[in-house]
């Protein structure tokens, strides 16, 4: 057995820590990209569902989209996007992960936004329209800012669960944090617990940091005297 001399697990971790950080970086980019796609697309879906044409031609596909992406396990979606799409178009594992997870996040975020918009009393829109605001202005200046207050809590949950789910991109070969950890483990044989403990800590710190930012934002949106 060819054991690396004089290197215990702490030394290995210290030596390979930059790789873990790099993996963390990939996870963060994946996270930001999928949340961004989810935000833009989710908002568009929500606006179409609430304020768009009521015809089945528009509403039905949106509903099917939402159901499908919320109903299929993300691992399956990752495989479908990676192996399925790469048959037609050469897609990198990272791009496949961003797409699969971003599209799914859109389904979840559209629901978060929809119930946030719906929680704004109808009288708010009515008063804005009665004063001469167009529908778009009323949404932008009145309904949207109020719904943000309602959306931020559930959105923080979505953020947390997506952080954790980025680790699943591992299965199609994206070299994110979990896969980097796996490399270290194979090269040192054993010490699984130690390595994964460090990885767990990294995920945890990222999660807490993101949550703190979002809570700060939530406090900023809070309105005196207003109870949710």
């Amino acid at each position: 057995m060819c054991r690396e001399p004089d290197l215990d697990i702490y030394d290995v971790l210290l030596r390979d820590f930059p790789f873990l950080l790099k993996g963390l970086g990939v996870a963060v980019v994946l996270l930001v990209a999928l949340l961004l796609i989810g935000f833009v697309l989710g908002m568009a879906i929500c606006l179409l569902q609430l304020y768009g044409p009521r015809t089945l031609l528009v509403q039905w596909p949106l509903k099917v989209y939402e159901r499908v992406f919320r109903g299929v396990p993300i691992i399956i979606m990752l495989f479908i996007f990676y192996y399925g799409v790469s048959g037609i178009y050469d897609i990198s594992a990272f791009a496949a992960a961003v797409l699969a997870m971003g599209l799914r996040s859109a389904a979840y975020q559209s629901q978060i936004f929809r119930s946030a918009f719906q929680s704004v009393p109808a009288g708010q829109m009515m008063a804005a329209r009665a004063m001469g605001m167009s529908k778009i202005k009323a949404i932008r200046h009145i309904v949207f800012p109020q719904s943000a207050r309602h959306a931020i809590g559930p959105w923080t949950n979505e953020f947390s669960s997506e952080i954790k789910e980025t680790s699943l991109a591992y299965v199609i070969g994206v070299v994110e944090l979990t896969r980097q950890a796996h490399y270290i483990i194979t090269s040192t044989q054993g010490n699984v617990l130690m390595v994964f403990a460090v990885v767990a800590l990294l995920y945890f710190v990222l999660n807490r940091a993101g949550n703190s930012l979002l809570y700060a934002f939530e406090r900023k949106l809070a309105v005196p005297g207003f109870e949710k």
Binding site: P121, A127, M131, G132, G225
Partner: protein
């Protein structure tokens, strides 16, 4: 047709799923006039007010504001000139009192920010809430919220103000402050249509009282005359009832 009418409502009809709520309503308001609209619950008072600014578009009939017809295609511009005060205030809950009174001046009329602020402050003083500019709606009493909503409507410099039961959502001890503001507006020469059961307001401030029932205007005239000698039995009966309970 009279040219100096600020608001001219002609033969407005409106049905909801076969139920005809307005069956041909017409009335007019000259500049500075206040008319009070009364009638039993379900007679179509709210529907009529909401038809005027197309919150509920009328099925038939025409509405003119200072000689210009209110139509779907100019509706946003027309609404900016028709103040509407709701029963439950509908203040924008995420904005301070000052911003509530400012926002539509800026976003709808394109008034410069500092001009809008000054106007908002003036209107707040006018309703006696100059010191509440930085409060949020949820920090105010119902009466104060309704006065802010009146200031918000006034800041748009409307041709006419429509009130739909502005005191009905308030505790009895808070109606007075709102009624006083409305009386002051009436005597300042504001043009207003007011749906209310506050008969003290009707007596003191209304140039004309309009009694509606079943989608028709049954009778209209100076309030003193209707109170003392309404021609129609149903008008008399209704006014007696609200004089006792209202």
């Amino acid at each position: 047709m009279t040219d100096d009418l600020v608001l001219d409502v002609r033969d407005v009809k409106k049905s909801y799923e076969g139920l005809e709520v307005l069956k041909g309503i017409g009335f007019g308001l000259r500049r500075g006039e206040t008319k009070v609209l009364v009638g039993p619950s379900g007679s179509g008072k709210s529907t009529l007010l909401r038809c005027i600014n197309h919150l509920t578009p009328p099925d038939e009939g025409r509405i003119f504001l200072s000689g210009e017809e209110v139509l779907e295609k100019n509706i946003d511009a027309m609404r900016a000139r028709i103040g509407f005060v709701f029963q439950d205030f509908n203040l924008f809950s995420h904005l301070t009192v000052l911003d509530n009174v400012r926002i539509c001046q800026v976003k709808v009329k394109g008034v410069a920010a500092d001009v809008a602020t000054e106007r908002a402050q003036q209107e707040l003083e006018r309703v006696g809430l100059g010191d509440k500019a930085s409060a949020y709606p949820a920090e105010l009493s119902g009466g104060q919220q309704q006065r802010v909503s009146i200031a918000r409507a006034l800041a748009m410099d409307p041709d006419v103000l429509l009130f739909d039961e502005p005191t009905s959502a308030l505790d009895p001890e808070l109606t007075g402050e709102v009624v006083r503001v409305m009386q002051k507006l009436a005597s300042d020469g504001m043009t207003m249509v007011v749906v209310t059961h506050e008969m003290s307001f009707a007596r003191q401030a209304a140039d004309e009282l309009i009694f509606m029932e079943n989608g028709y205007i049954i009778e209209q005239g100076p309030p003193q005359q209707l109170f003392s000698s309404a021609a129609n039995d149903r008008t008399r009966a209704f006014l007696n009832v609200i004089a006792e309970h209202g």
